[in-house]
Subunit: 289 residues, 2 copies
């Protein structure tokens, strides 16, 4: 048993899925949950995702020995302030935010330090769909979860959060918050910005109404992440702005270089760039589990 | 019966798949095929994709009443020159090239005009895999095929090519070559360039070896098209260079604008761009069959 009472603050896709996964694994006794949207709270109870909906974040966590903060990343500080006085002695608190330096900064601001019982985490899972209604018990199965332990980290708290994610079928990897933010700027934040930008460029073309019906499977997959929640990706890009901006500089320079090859007719150079990219993607395919 | 003798020049994914589809539909008598790679010719016979492998393009087409040119788009002129004297009287010739203005120009150069019996076509199907070994009888099922009829087009030739694709389970749409090239620059050529460029940018980062294992499902789908054939996409971008370059200018400007919002902290503006893109993608989802 990981926890007698689990509290989940934020009943979106991730919060709902972790509750479902831990219940399916038999890892928790009862589950309470809170979301600022009362309809979502009701829906989470109706769907059996949580046992009890709290009236406030504080009321939701007060008897919990394990608390998962699963709110949009820019709401982290508000959520922590809301539960600050109500966290039980000995409870372990973790989060699922897509950026880790910003969450670490929020935790320090709210608690005056990084408490030993706070474990920073990020499950690498999700779909372009959002909300508790789309949550899935197997969302994390065979996915990675990144934990970024800090200097004052309690080892038992870290072990509990590791066990939590392993119970969900995930594989836990540790790194520092800054490593995390650099890596996910490249694998996740930049591609989301590119996908939104590309679809916006196409959508603004005069003949976009004639364009979309002719888009094939390549377009569908390339643009899938542009169906993700704009609010969530606004939060993530804002929380990791320096890393995203630095990569955007590289991306824009690379596209300008490619455009130069196209306008100058330096075709061998362009083909070599395509070949290098294809080789990198084939290498990537060997690296994922 | 569409044709007693079908000849397919170019035994790649598309040439192989159209041969398989027409055979499965009972639409053709015998199928001959040619590919410059002798191993591929043998493989196509062994796999039952074609009945006979020709020793040359001319020998392959000489008894055919229907010829499908399925070569990389920059090889079109060579392929047409190779079969020019051997096309039977009354035969219909069509192609599957991903750009249509360049193919129309090649046909005019080789034949001195756009012959009534030549039908320009482009099936909107494919995968990131290539070669006859990956060909599929149902590759075109429920996909679009674009035909771009010209001023001197024979109506019976056009009807035969339309029937060919309908026998493969596809839906045929007509437009002009320039409309085609503008639309597919946006839905297909630009995203391939972006995907190659993005993967190349990430692959060139110092810590790319640590980055790839942490990439999730969004990265996988976003980069799938970067596994496509560099030779094929070199050909397509080169054949449609003005349209691709014009869109790259818009794409780069859009990314620069987004980066400006990020560095200036104009977050509402950035979120509005993400929201516009998401709405455009949701609209696209309503437009595909």
């Amino acid at each position: 048993m990981l926890a007698k009472h689990l509290a989940v603050i934020g009943l979106g896709l991730i919060g709902g899925s972790v509750a479902r996964a831990l219940r399916a694994a038999g890892g928790v006794g009862s589950i309470s949950g809170y979301d600022p949207d009362p309809q979502r709270r009701e829906q989470a109870v109706t769907l059996g995702v949580i046992d009890h909906a709290g009236d406030s974040p504080a009321a939701t966590v007060k008897n919990a020995d394990l608390v998962i903060i699963a709110v949009p990343v820019l709401r982290t500080a508000d959520a922590l302030n809301a539960i600050r006085g109500a966290i039980a002695a000995g409870a372990v608190v973790t989060d699922v935010g897509s950026t880790k330096q910003s969450v670490a900064a929020d935790v320090e601001t709210v608690f005056g330090e990084l408490p030993p019982w706070f474990v920073l985490g990020h499950p690498i899972a999700g779909t372009e769909k959002s909300g508790v209604a789309n949550s899935l018990a197997d969302l994390f199965r065979k996915h990675r979860v990144i934990l970024t332990p800090h200097a004052r980290q309690d080892e038992k708290a870290l072990a509990l959060v590791r066990a939590l994610w392993e119970a969900c079928g995930a594989r836990v990897v540790e790194m520092t918050p800054s490593q995390h933010d650099a890596i996910f700027a490249a694998t996740s934040h930049l591609p989301h910005v590119l996908a939104y930008s590309f679809v916006d460029v196409v959508g603004k073309l005069d003949d976009s109404r004639h364009i979309f019906p002719n888009a094939g499977g390549g377009f569908r997959d390339f643009t899938r992440i542009a169906s993700s929640s704009p609010q969530m990706w606004h939060d993530i890009v804002r929380a990791n702005a320096p890393a995203v901006s630095e990569l955007l500089t590289r991306q824009i320079a690379d596209l300008q270089a490619l455009q130069g090859m196209i306008t100058d007719g330096r075709w061998d150079e362009m083909k070599a760039a395509f070949e290098r990219a294809r080789a990198a993607r084939e290498y990537y395919l060997t690296q994922i589990e």
